[in-house]
Each structure stands twice: as structure tokens, then as C-alpha cells.
Symmetry: D2
Subunit: 356 residues, 4 copies
């Protein structure tokens, strides 16, 4: 079931990076929703490699073909299947990895799990699978048009923004290729990335995501708390190492008397350390969270490793690889968030029964 | 489905804190497993309020009754249902909350979601539901007896351990009521908690969990990566605000050349920044992660809030409340981890087919 | 997952017949529904053994205890857990079956599957588990109060009603203990059952179920067609061997020109060979189906069988057994039907989105 | 979830008959299984329209393209996605149905459910979706190569075989286009079908399916009994109206003393009225069941119906339609049976734990 995400609105993902295609099926979408194909294309373009010299040079067009579930521009209520061909896969770049395990990649673990693996470009473990998340997530977003989901790069390596999301102009995220709504920080981040590229090295970073206009009542108690589903969504993205929402790790250092969000008679709360979620359910305040990404494991310089026989060998990245994936992960974080929220929107419709 | 956790091994949880009982059903447990009832009792005792003056004084006995699925001391392969009565619930302590919303509690959001709520002691949102997680998780642990899951308190408020789990004697965790395997730190943590109690205030903290002896190959690609399931498990625990595994947020500040774990010809990796997980699947190294808890929202001193009519009122905690739940959350973190791992153990048995 | 029934409204069932209790958890029930406990009691009484000399003499009271999910008489939107104690279980009646496999029972197959079994009274394979179906199904029925579900005995052994459900007074089903709304047929059925009892033998039979006032649009395409879910529900009931809906097996002998239901300008169709379902979705006409039950396997006379060592032995039923379970299966068929329908009602609420 | 079939081995199906493609994703297939593409092609050819003058003349090639999950001829353990293009769809044949509801079709119910529908050729309700079932089911069959699943036409209209499956030579089913292993009956069936075609009418029929070499222990108790899953699988096939297994409806007319299958010391049972299933779990004897199909609803002669405004109109089938789909349904019944059985095979691997 590990290729399915969602309860009612369910995305099933498929595809190896160097097989014929990646894609998915979105099930549970109600009928009659107008499909905005351009929106999907725009978000795919933000994820695409080769957007700028900061990202990889693999020129994927990533044009999705929709095979079902849409008729005369509207959803039918039936499964929406979509396929994106892997046109520019250069498997030869990976021949040297047929028998060697790249450090901190999934080569070794897939082989331990399955007994065999598609060694070309990471196969199923490649971040290319996130194409399906973007398409599914943007379709999901069409169900909840009033909800605003916005992510941006908060940190690259040791550099980070010193302002919170409330102090930033979130309309300026795409002004710079690093996707940070602070021009000075964007330059600092870009310089770090450029230096890492020159050294054949890579960098991690952090993304903040903010959700506005979520009505109260979304989320489910106990195991499917909104934060639990968001955490699962984020930790399922390749390279993610951590998640926190609201006050997060910082909140663990506070006293209750400073941390509690006091309800205001005029609506809302005086502070928002809860990150818009109390008991797993939205309270109407903005939801926000932060996600940590490790540096990409593929380096453009030699590294020692072992091969299948356990012998010491040396490998070096070939082909097209990002020194820092964090700017391209911004749309992935947004689309996964939309998938989570639209699902809870549908789940909450079921409650309408008892509220007459 | 929000009351079910697991794919093959599935815990369904039920119960309000001041209703007749809490409990659950564990489904998917293979037949023939010997049940160690004392083990369950010991872990329940570690979760129980009233263990020391550091925790609440509610004297719950938490004796589970097993209703099915066990015959002559062994599992039958059928659902294991269990019930724990809510014997010492003093609903009168909550009468004043019938119409008021406690700050940073789930009172307001439950009412927004469901249109009504059980206002007695938090109802379904009470941490009392974690009793079912302990019982389900310890049963799960009996499926994977070689896997060692150990959690401890890493930080209380602003105080934290300055040593990593590898430098600690994990056998000494229960030596002190704060559940920290470092006697000096334990005293510092206890002093902070005692001070918070005197002030009617509360404190957050952090828990580290370490898993040893996990074979390679556990975990599933894409959406059910081991780290995604662990994150969902942890963020579903009341008061949890953040999760990181392996190098975590710190790893996001590193270069790939420092972060990569180099495979060793003699087995294993030179470092373990991957936290034992690569591509969502275990590599045989120890799995470890860190969890952040916010300070408890119920204070033993007056706080402003609003009531159902949106009018300003003042409330103050009555009854039995912990100034810091983190020590009692240690067994919950462990039991949830066992639930996650035993599920992946069963999922991996399915792969046995192709590996002849 | 084999102990869970439903998609959104989900019943998880537990319990062995001679363990401490049977029961279940109903999840997915919206909040605010008033619970009619007497209705549940009445339907349990119709299932109960010992209602008349036609049924077994085991005097079970079957009083359910509700442990969660209900507050001040209304549902909370949280899981509803319920337990029915096995008070009158006389395990000694089954001692002789510890090592022998009863013919056409599940003794042999459970042992093959699980390696061990609870040999007392059928354990999990006992029809006692249907208590949970009744409780869950009647709670489900409270969600769809306008939908009328009515089942009755259509045949016992070789005797059957020669009138269709449209020609019968469905208000008279409970006039006679055999639950047939035709007084003359009821006498014939009762005489057959009485004769079987005297001979230590047993009888099968058939039940017809009729559902009125289902709105159009319930049911899902492809794998979860309404008829597929009804068939699964019915074939999961102990002793059921067949299911047909609408024209059923008889319809397979017809031409399309006779079988098609012609739409009427005034609404509805001229005939109803579709049984109210077209393409898996209700069309607003009554839904009806027929269910075949085999004769009970336990005989009150000696039968040859084998024991664990594969040796020939002879067994004879002891304790309390029905010569014909079909009258007691009438409420089970109804309650399972309600469970199916209420689930589709909730699923259809999701479609409300696209229909603005 | 209505487009997903299976618990561990899960087929998700997509596609409208006149959209770009139909297809699916098979998830849960273990790694390392060799894929026999020719086997899939052969079974698709048996389902294909236009095989003989007894079936429709639509010349679909139905060539599947596999997009993922297979590498160097073996399964990877990842999702297997496949697509079959709808090349010969002549939508113009359906223009007259844009506003009219065909009798006993899903046109009216889809519109009631979703508020809109793809009126071209039945859309999602078309039997064209069964292409995905064939592909998924044959892949599933590769997991359980020793299990023999064989279906054949038992009846067409009022004509039926007067011999049971044990008396037939099941190797001769494909000798005749009607797929009946009795040459004389095949001629009678073919004559009936030919006559119906000449009259612009259609015919129903029945299929028997036999499964040999199933080990004991497959199937799950309570709601997922093997017969319940088979019934759901069969009733989900378009045009199916009834299902019975083992003694079926006939068994409901018997006494227990005749119906019980007596265990033999040499293994197996003296009779097999249980149809190889006891308590929902296989006992090692052959599994067999019977499925009833209604006559196809599309007639090649005028029929009255209503349009969207509820006005009386007349329609007549155009394009390519079978007078009797039962011969082409034989491979569908087989493939769905394989999907059910392979899933239970995987579920039973989980039990291996307790049986050491």
C-alpha cells in the first residue's frame, strides 16, 4: 500500500526514473470539478530540473498525458490516470552503478529488500517519482480553491532567514531561482549553492510552508491528526530528515504559560504557537510547518564505497545532478500539502450529517 | 479511519477519558505467539500517572482485560480486543469546562468539527487514549523479540543532554523518575519540573528513541517510507510538535561530502547520519530519532479564555495534571515504534516469494 | 483486515464464542446521531437463540455494553466500542472436539491456517460473532432512517413461498417464529423444522431481503458496485452458499428484450429485473436479493469423522444447536444490509461537491 | 476506493471506454517474479471482441504497454502500471445517447450519482474496463503457478449442460467459440446465440469456475471469507446477477445429514458440497462456483426509453455489440479468481510466523 497516499482522495503513484514513464491515478475526486491544466503545468515547471544554472541540466519536458476521469474539461468522479514519459533518461550515465552501492542512496537497501533492483538512475527511489505528487496535489488543490498553500526556502546549508513567515512578502518567492522571498538572503543562498557546485559538493536546507484560509474542523483525532498526516507527507519526500509545526522544537523549550495561545473574543488566538492545529484539528488560524532536507547524496567527485561482493570501489557522480534540491522541492512540499488538506476537506463533508 | 494505525498489523483505538473505558483491537497478529502479560503491565505502569511526585496524582490502576484472540496463553491469529476501565475519573473536576474552551486544548476544535463534544477531561482528545497504544505496541513487540527499542528523555525545557545516545548507558534510563540515563542531567531536569509545579506552570521537552538489531530491508518505498510511518506515529501522540531522524535538522546544515555514510567492506557504514534508513528502508544500522513535546496546556493557575458565546472568562486547572508529561511519554514513544516496526516486519514477509 | 467491514463506516468485529466476550468497534459514524438502544435490543432478541422451540435453548441475554463514542444519548463522531459477554458458554459440551474435526465445520481449516485453534464451540468461526454485526448494522441504520430494510424466510428445505415479495404483507414477518409473512407457508416450514429436530437432523433455506426508499445514486462503479458489496456482506455470514439480486439466476435464462426495464416518463421503470441497481448504482426502485443458507453442520446424531492423527472417530453434537438457523438469520441479513447502505450513503456525500 | 481490488495484492483500475485508454496499476506484487507477457496476450485475446461471428466485430488489438515495475523480465516489487489504448472507439455511434438513457444500462444512475457522465459507449460503466482485470489477474496468476483456475460456459439462455464439472474434459473448453467443453452443448448454445443475433436480441447465461490445487489454509475468517471475496469479485463484473459456490442454492434444499462432507482418513472429504471452503478457508479440495449473467441490455432493435427531460423517446443499438457476452466473460471470471487467490496466498505468508 506504500504507493498510495490519502484516505478518500487517494493518489497511487508508479514509475522508475529510467523506465518508460512515471505517473499515477488520483481516485476519490468528486465529479464536476473544472480542471486547470495550465496550473499543473506551471507547478511541474517549478519542480523540473534545468530551470536555472542552480539546478540540474536534464531538460525534461514533463508533459503529462491524462488518460481518464476527465470529460469536456471536468472531472467525471472516476479515477484520473496520468502518465509522464521519461524521455531524456540517459541510462548509460548509470552503468557504473550496476554493481556498486552509492553512499547514502537506496541502492543497497532496495537490493536487500527485493533481491534485485533497477540500478538505472535510482529506479523507484529516484526523486523523479515526485512528478506524480505534483500532478495529484494540484488536482487536489482544485477542490479547495480558497485555501492558500505557500512554501519557500528558509535555509540553505548554514545560512537561514532571520525573519518569520509573517514578516515576509510571500508573493515574491519566485522572484529568484532559489525561491526565497528575501532578496538579500536569496543572494547568500545562491552563492553557497554555486560554491558547492564548483566543489562537486552538495547542500541541504529547510523549507517553510504556510497554509491560510483553512476553515476550523479539518483533521481527524488520534492517529490521523492533521500534523501526523502532514509529517507523513513530508517525510515521504526524498531527502527529508525532519518536520516541525507551529512552535516545533523551539516550543519544547518553553513553559506552558508562554506557549498557550489565548482565545480572543473577536475570534482567533492572540498567538499561534499551535500552528493552527489543536488536538489534530484546525482551529481556523494559519497552519505552518518547517521541513529539513539533507544534502543530495550524489557528489560530482570521487567517493569510496563497496560493490556487491563487498569489495572497496570508488565512484563519482555522472550525468545531471543538483547541488541543492531545496528550491525544486518547494512545489513538492506545496502539492503534498494540498493532497493532505483536500483529503481532510472530503472527510469533513461526512460530518455534515450530524450538524443539521 | 483515523482511529486505526498500521497496514497489516492494525491497532484500532477507542475511548473517551471519562467514558466507561478506553481500549482497542489489534488485528493482523499471526497465530501462535506467546503473550507476555507482565511485559504489558510493566509498560503500562511506566505510562501511568502518579508514579512519582513528578507526575499527576491520579491513581489509575490501568489493568487491561483481554476479551479475545488469545487462547491458552498464545495468539489465535484472530483480533485481540482489550479494555481498560476508567475507574478514577472525576468528572466534577471538569464541570467548569462544559462551556469554556481551554487555551491550546482541543475543546474548541472538537466542537467546531463535530458540533458537540464530551467536555469531561478532554474526552477523546485526552492522552488517556495512549493506554491502547501501549498495549497494542507491546503485543507488536512480541512479534519482533530481537529488535531493541529504547527511548529516553533528552531534554526538559531549556535543559538538554550534551551527549548522544551512543555515549549513554541506555540500561540506566529507569534509574530516575525523569527517565534520563545521565544521573546529573536527571537531577537538573527534575529540579526544573519541580519548580514549574510550584509555579503552577508546565514544561515541554524532547525524547530520543534508538532501535537496534533491525534487519536490512524493512520499510517501503515512496509514501510508506519507514521515516514517514515513524513521523506519523510520533506526531499522532498528544503534545508532539516535531520529529527528526538521523542527522535531522542539523543534517540540513551540512555538505554532502560530510553527510554521506560510507559503506565499509566489513559491513555497515562508517557514520550513521542516515539513521539506519536509506530510501525509506532499513540498512541494518541502528535507527534513531528525536521527538519534541510542547509544554502541557493545562495550568494550575488562572488563564483568560472565551466561552461558547465568545465571552471572555477565566479558567484554572483542577484535578490531576502533570507539570511535564515527557517522562511518561517515553513508553508511548517506544510502544508506537514497536507498532511501526512489527508492521514492516510482516510486510517484508511477503517479499519472501521472489527471493528463492 | 478480514475483521473489518466497510469503507467509511467501518465495523471491526472481535471475539470467540467461548472467550470472555464478542463485540466490535464502529468507526466513521458522524457526530450528533441519537442512539436508539431499544432498537438494537429488539434486533438482538430476534437473533438470539432460545426464542422458541424452533431454535436452540441457549439462554443468552446478549446485553451490549457501550464503552465509547456516545455521550448524553448522541454519537460523538468517535469510535463506538461495544462488548457482549459470553455468559452462558458451556465449554464442557465441546471437550470431545478438542482433537476431532467436525464435518463441514471450520475446525480443520482453522487448524491448517493458524496451526492452533480455540476448539470450544467453534471459536471465532462460531455464528456468535454475528452479534457484532447486528449492533453495528442497527447503529448504521440510524444514519439512514428513511431507508426500509426488510428480510424474511423465503424457503426452508424443499418448501418455498410461491409468491414474490411484492405480493406479501411484509408487516407480518414476525407473526410466526419462522419469520415468513405467509401464515400457511409458516406452518409448513415449522413442521419441516420440527421433523428435522426429532430426527437429530438439520435444514437449510433461503431469505429474501427488500430495500425500499433508497435514493438514486448510491453505490460505486467497478469493484464496489452495490451488488458486489451486498454479495460480500451476505457470503460473509456463516452458512451462506449463494446470492442473487433482481432477476438473479432466473434472469440468466431470459432474452434482453424481456429482461430490460423500460424507463417511464412518470418516473421509475416498468419492471424491476435490475433489482433497483444499474451499473452498481441505485436507480431509486426497490433493491431486492435472495440468499441461500446450507443446513447447519452440527447434527444431534452420530457422524463419522477423523481426529488430528487422521484416525477415524465418531462424534455427535452436544449442547445447544438449531435444526434450522434461517429464521434467526433474518435480522443478520437486515443488519448487514444496513451496514452496506449507510456506508454508501456517506460515500455519496462526498459527491455533493461537484453538484453545485 | 471503488476502483481498487485486493488487500495486499491490489489492482487499481482506470479508464472510460471512449477516453484515451484503459489500464491499471498492480501493487503488492513481490519482486523477482518472471513475467509471461504471452500469457497475458492470450487471455486478452480470449476476452477481445471480434473473435468469432458470435461476438462483436469491434477489432480491438488490446496491446498492453507496461510502464513500470518490471525490469529485465522480472518484477521489481514496485507498482506495475499498464495502459491499453482505446484505438477503435467510434464515438459517433453513441451520439444519439447523449441525452437518452438506455434501458437497464448505467446511463441514468451515473447521471444521478455524478451530475454528469461520459455518454460515449458507457464510459466507465463499459465492460471495456475488464481489460485491466485480465492483465492484473494474469500477473497475479504468475504468483501461484500451481493453482489451476478453469472457467467455462455452463448455460446460455434456457439451455444448460446436464453434467457437472467433474464429468467434463476441461481441456476442451476452447475447442468451440462458445467455450463449453461439451461439443453437443456447444452447438446448441451457438444456435441459440445465432438466433438471438438475427432477431436483434440478446441472451444471458451461466459460467462455472473450478480451482484445483489450492492448498488448505487460504481465506480469512469473518468478513473476508474466501467465498465473500469471490462473490464480490464476480458481482463486480458487468452483467453478473448471481453467485453460488459448492452446493449453492441447491444445498439450501438439503438436510445436514446429506450435505455434510465426511473427512476421509486417507485425506480429503468423501463429497465436496463445501466447494473446498469451510469457515471461509480452503480445505484442500477443489473450489468451484457458478455465476449468472443477465442478457446484454443493448438491443439491435428499437426500444422505448426516456431522455433527460423525462420525455418518451425511442433508441436502437448502433455499432458493435454482442448478442451474448458469456463466452467472452470466461477469461474475466478466471482472471478475477486469480486476483482473489493470489491475494490470499500473500496474506497467508504472514501466518508463517507462528508456525515454527
Amino acid at each position: 500500500m506504500s504507493n498510495v497516499f490519502g484516505r478518500i482522495l487517494r493518489l497511487t503513484s508508479f514509475g522508475e526514473s529510467h523506465g518508460p514513464a512515471v505517473g499515477g491515478i488520483l481516485e476519490g475526486m468528486p465529479a464536476g470539478v473544472e480542471v486547470d491544466f495550465e496550473r499543473i503545468g506551471r507547478q511541474l515547471a517549478r519542480r523540473r530540473p534545468g530551470q536555472s544554472k542552480l539546478t540540474t541540466s536534464r531538460p525534461e519536458s514533463d508533459e503529462p498525458e491524462f488518460l481518464s476521469g476527465i470529460f469536456e474539461g471536468r472531472t467525471l468522479g472516476t479515477p484520473i490516470a496520468f502518465v509522464v514519459r521519461n524521455r531524456h533518461a540517459r541510462s548509460a550515465d548509470y552503468e557504473h552503478l550496476r554493481d556498486a552501492y552509492r553512499p547514502s542512496h537506496a541502492d543497497y537497501t532496495y537490493e536487500q529488500k527485493y533481491g534485485l533492483r533497477d540500478w538505472r538512475g535510482g529506479g523507484r527511489a529516484s526523486a523523479r517519482e515526485t512528478v506524480a505528487r505534483i500532478i495529484g496535489g494540484e488536482l487536489a488543490g482544485m477542490l479547495i480553491p480558497d485555501v492558500e498553500v505557500t512554501a519557500y526556502v528558509h535555509a540553505v546549508g548554514t545560512e537561514e532567514l532571520n525573519r518569520s513567515w509573517e514578516e515576509l512578502d510571500l508573493g515574491r518567492i519566485d522572484d529568484h531561482a532559489v525561491r526565497t522571498p528575501d532578496p538579500a538572503a536569496a543572494e547568500r543562498f545562491a552563492a553557497l549553492i554555486e560554491q558547492a557546485r564548483r566543489e562537486g559538493d552538495t547542500l541541504g536546507g529547510q523549507i517553510v510552508c504556510v497554509v491560510k484560509n483553512v476553515p476550523p474542523g479539518w483533521g481527524e483525532p488520534v492517529f490521523d491528526k492533521l500534523q501526523a498526516r502532514l509529517a507523513a507527507a513530508m517525510l515521504s519526500i526524498p531527502a527529508v530528515k525532519g518536520f516541525e509545526y507551529g512552535s516545533g522544537f523551539g516550543g519544547s523549550r518553553m513553559h506552558g504559560s508562554e506557549h498557550n495561545d489565548i482565545f480572543l473574543p473577536e475570534g482567533g488566538t492572540a498567538t499561534n504557537r499551535s500552528g493552527g492545529i489543536q488536538g489534530g484539528i484546525t482551529n481556523g488560524m494559519p497552519v505552518y510547518f518547517r521541513v529539513a532536507f539533507k544534502p543530495v547524496a550524489t557528489l560530482m567527485r570521487p567517493q569510496p564505497t563497496i560493490n556487491r561482493e563487498g569489495k572497496r570501489v570508488e565512484i563519482e557522480g555522472k550525468g545531471r545532478h543538483d547541488p541543492c534540491v531545496v528550491p525544486r522541492a518547494v512545489p513538492i512540499v506545496e502539492s503534498m500539502t494540498r493532497l493532505v488538506l483536500a483529503d481532510f476537506y472530503l472527510l469533513q463533508k461526512i460530518q455534515a450529517h450530524g450538524q443539521t
